[in-house]
């Protein structure tokens, strides 16, 4: 029984961190699919989301308002980032664009230090955080928030991409940008939209994780890299696959840490990344398609 409750506990932890990875990974996938860019600044959106909401709460705003405002602000930061850095350089090679996102992520981290310093800060949990006991394992309401929100986002995204005009236009840009253009879809606008949406979702991820682990200027890098791994493992070309990959990585990490060694947690997930790249580069959960450019 004790082993069972340990397993359950590990599963809870894995799902929680997986949910965070999933929210950031969705952003990756959207940007990658619409613009072809691997956005290395994605984790920084989460960092901004967390730190901005903390500052707003400190300014005595109610928590829910702080969270919504911080998502809006980060989405705006995303818009500025797209217009100034990506849009301006859109004629450059993909290599250049990818390196630009790396530069932006460094600058974002530096700006965060200038504003918030290097000290860790924390956000109060969304709701009363009394642990819930479930078969000897402990589950916190904040974990439920994380898991719940990522599922909601998944559903919203599915709806958005499949049932709204804007969403379908985005999808069209992915499938065939030239044809999309002929149909009167403006790829520039779509690129902006993609970055704004994924910045917003990233910010949400940041506010969800802040009460669990605290927030500091350097939190974005590791979150971003892990979400990256998740997206590639699941499948970079499709959002549900990336989300599945994120939960998989979260669970694998939790079990590695819980049953083996914490130090090797990263090694295991990055080895998985290499393995996937070498044997199934389209990702575990993505349907192999003929067209992959």
């Amino acid at each position: 029984m004790e082993t069972f409750s340990q397993m359950l506990q590990l599963l809870f932890s894995g799902l929680t961190i997986g949910a965070i990875y999933a929210l950031i990974a969705v952003g990756f996938v959207i940007i990658y699919n619409v613009t072809g860019i691997l956005n290395f600044a994605q984790g920084e959106f989460a960092m901004f989301g967390a730190l901005i909401s903390i500052s707003l709460v400190k300014a005595n705003l109610p928590l829910w308002l702080a969270i919504i405002l911080s998502i809006v602000i980060v989405a705006a930061i995303g818009a500025v980032f797209e217009r100034t850095a990506i849009h301006t350089a859109r004629k450059s090679s993909m290599t250049t664009l990818i390196i630009i996102t790396i530069g932006v992520s460094i600058a974002f981290r530096g700006i965060a230090i200038l504003i918030w310093g290097t000290q860790a800060q924390t956000l109060p949990p969304f709701t009363d955080n009394t642990p819930i006991k479930f078969l000897e394992a402990v589950l916190l309401p904040q974990n439920l928030w994380a898991i719940g929100l990522s599922i909601v986002i998944l559903i919203v995204m599915m709806y958005f991409f499949n049932f709204t005009f804007t969403g379908k236009s985005l999808t069209a840009c992915v499938v065939n940008p030239f044809a999309a253009r002929l149909m009167g879809i403006n790829p520039n606008k779509m690129s902006l939209l993609a970055v704004v949406v994924s910045a917003g979702v990233g910010a949400l991820a940041g506010t969800v994780i802040a009460p669990i682990s605290g927030a500091s200027y350097d939190m974005g890098m590791m979150l971003g890299i892990k979400a990256f791994v998740a997206a590639v493992v699941g499948g970079l070309t499709n959002a549900p696959a990336a989300i599945a990959g994120a939960f998989l990585i979260g669970i694998i990490e939790a079990f590695t840490e819980g049953l083996w060694s914490s130090g090797l947690k990263d090694v295991v997930s990055f080895s998985l990344l290499l393995l996937i790249l070498f044997i199934k580069p389209e990702g575990l959960f993505a349907k192999a398609s003929g067209k992959r450019v």
Partner: protein, 350 residues
């Protein structure tokens, strides 16, 4: 691209490097120990960036894991010399071999894929290697670091002073530069350049892109590893934090600032990075006394972005452009001067 710049790229003469290094090697005659230390630091980076410039500029691939090769070189040297008592030169060789082997292992599967998978693969690999440095405590000393790495000897001469180390590292840079220029002028370089990144075109003309990219990747890993080994002997203390993903990113910044189209960009970029860092350290506090060292991160991040947007070919072509303009002006000026002297009947000389 005009003929002149093509000529510059395919210029195989040793005159340029020779003059440059002859001048460089005069620095110890005038510079202080600190100046030498700065230029030695630039040398470590330049050696890495020469390989990285080829990789990014010619093979069009981003590596986010070169810190790993840097670390492999450093730790191999540390372990083989301090723990096992081998000669540093053998250690440098072994480190380079290990790095080459690892690069092959990563490169072969990755270059089969189209797109930007090297960035991802090297990122993952870099973090695995970093963790290994931290966890293999019996070999690396773990997070506490590796202390007491001996200095390099050659025929009884010990490289301990800043001056001798300066010459040592820049000698390696010189050799790497000449070697890389040969690669660029060989089939590999021409093959990679001719297709300008279009893989379909390469397939069409039957260029074996994968093999070329792999050769360049392995070469750059070897350069990086040698630089790491030399660093270890220079500083005598290393720890895993020298070899994080951040280091890989800073190396990339140097390469971009210098410029990807020209192998000299590697040296310009590393010099610009180190010297700008030093300059900022001295002058920024004058204007903003309360600002911490963090502004540097913002500065380099923005510099990277701005460079890519406004001068995607880096510093080198910019300087060439300015020089060309100056030359033109000079000519105009001298023509104007002749006309002027003619008009005044040559009295301008009075």
């Amino acid at each position: 691209m005009n003929k002149k710049s093509l000529k510059l790229i395919y210029n195989n003469s040793l005159v340029g490097p020779s003059i440059f290094f002859a001048l460089l090697f005069c620095i110890p005659l005038v510079g202080s120990n600190y100046t030498l230390a700065i230029f030695t630091m630039i040398g470590f980076y330049a050696l890495i960036c020469i390989g990285l410039t080829m990789l990014t500029g010619y093979a069009g691939q981003i590596s986010l894991g070169h810190a790993a090769f840097y670390g492999i070189g450093a730790y191999t040297s540390a372990y083989m010399t301090a723990t096992l008592g081998f000669s540093p030169w053998l250690a440098i060789l072994v480190g380079a071999l290990i790095s080459a082997l690892v690069a092959l292992l990563i490169g072969i599967p990755t270059f089969k894929l189209k797109g930007y998978y090297l960035a991802l693969a090297t990122l993952g690999f870099g973090i695995i290697v970093y963790t290994a440095f931290k966890e293999l405590t019996s070999i690396t000393g773990g997070s506490n670091g590796f202390f007491g790495i001996p200095s390099i000897h050659l025929f009884g001469f010990e490289f301990v002073t800043d001056q001798s180390y300066f010459y040592l590292i820049w000698l390696f840079v010189f050799m790497a530069l000449v070697f890389s220029r040969n690669i660029i002028h060989s089939r590999i370089g021409r093959g990679l350049r001719s297709i300008e990144g279009s893989e379909i075109a390469a397939d069409a003309v039957g260029v074996n892109l994968m093999k070329y990219k792999l050769q360049i990747f392995v070469t750059s890993a070897i350069f990086t590893s040698i630089s790491g080994s030399l660093l270890a002997h220079y500083v005598s203390f290393i720890n895993p934090n020298l070899f994080t993903a951040n280091t890989s990113i800073y190396l990339l910044i140097m390469v971009i600032i210098g410029g990807l189209n020209n192998i000299w960009g590697a040296i310009v970029g590393s010099a610009a990075y180190v010297l700008l860092g030093e300059l900022l350290k001295h002058f920024v506090p004058v204007f903003f006394p309360n600002i911490g060292g963090e502004f540097e991160i913002v500065f380099f991040g923005l510099l990277l972005v701005l460079t890519l947007i406004y001068m995607p070919n880096g510093l080198v072509p910019q300087f060439m452009k300015i020089a060309r303009k100056l030359k033109k002006k000079e000519r105009h000026a001298s023509i104007a001067f002749t006309i002027d002297t003619q008009a005044t009947g040559g009295k301008a000389n009075d």
